[in-house]
């Protein structure tokens, strides 16, 4: 697991460096979990990436901001809005479930997605986010390219 994690993080960092400007990243690990945090610039946008590998689950956060506005945010956090979309209701029986979803329009709208990878996020971003300051228009529904991941 340690080797696979290191290799995965290395690939993410390499791709981040080749895609974004002014990339900064930190990693940390305990005997049971590892975390990678990256931030960088993509044209006029700021990008914030978190990958937490914990209890055999990959928890991810891929956020694109323009100033303080969340243009898009892919994550699989236990968000009640995503839980309600998936199960029709929220409550203690659904608490803690990891639901892949996409926030748009400064987090005023939310869509369920398939589990997203960093590579899939880059692919989606290049298809949907213009480097210039022009309004991006309506983002397309994400299609995640298949990739082999340890999780």
């Amino acid at each position: 697991m340690v080797e696979k994690t290191s290799e995965y993080f290395a690939n993410v960092i390499i791709l981040a460096h080749s895609t974004f400007d002014d990339v900064e990243y930190t990693t940390d690990a305990t005997p049971e979990r590892t975390i990678l945090q990256i931030h960088g610039n993509y044209g006029v946008y700021k990008v914030f990436i978190t990958e937490l590998l914990s209890e055999e689950i990959r928890k991810y956060r891929y956020y694109i901001l323009k100033k303080n506005r969340v243009e898009a945010g892919f994550d699989n956090a236990s968000d009640p809005r995503a839980i309600r979309l998936k199960y029709g209701k929220i409550g203690s029986e659904y608490a803690g479930r990891y639901i892949p979803h996409l926030h748009l329009n400064d987090k005023t709208t939310i869509e369920l997605t398939e589990n997203m990878t960093f590579f899939g996020f880059i692919h989606w971003m290049k298809e949907n986010v213009s480097l210039s300051s022009n309004p991006p228009g309506r983002f397309a529904r994400p299609t995640i390219p298949t990739s082999s991941l340890p999780w």
């Binding site: 049971e32 975390i35 937490l52 009640p80």
Partner: protein
Amino acid sequence: MDTSSAVIKNNYIEVLYSFGKDLQSAVDTALQKYLIDLITSKIAELRKKELLFEAKYECDYQSFSQNISESDEFVINIEENVNKMWENELAEWEFCYKGIDDWSKKLRNILLMS
């Protein structure tokens, strides 16, 4: 048990022998102390970060992670008044909170080895 080898400087070995100490047990003791120091520093670092999150979100990790997944009002309040990108911080907070446990278990294992 897996083992590794290392090169010890002769200067250290000579001084050690002059104290009548055994090389293997001296290395084991020194490494154990060093690791205890590293681990306790790490736990302190994680706890410091955890305290920052507790102060920012005004609750502990368990309460936050429960409330955030069960209450629309809680999420809206957090996004409007604390941090719109709480998901990123929650991941780091989880790492700190659970990481303290991880390292504490490792510390106990090392202490039990003496």
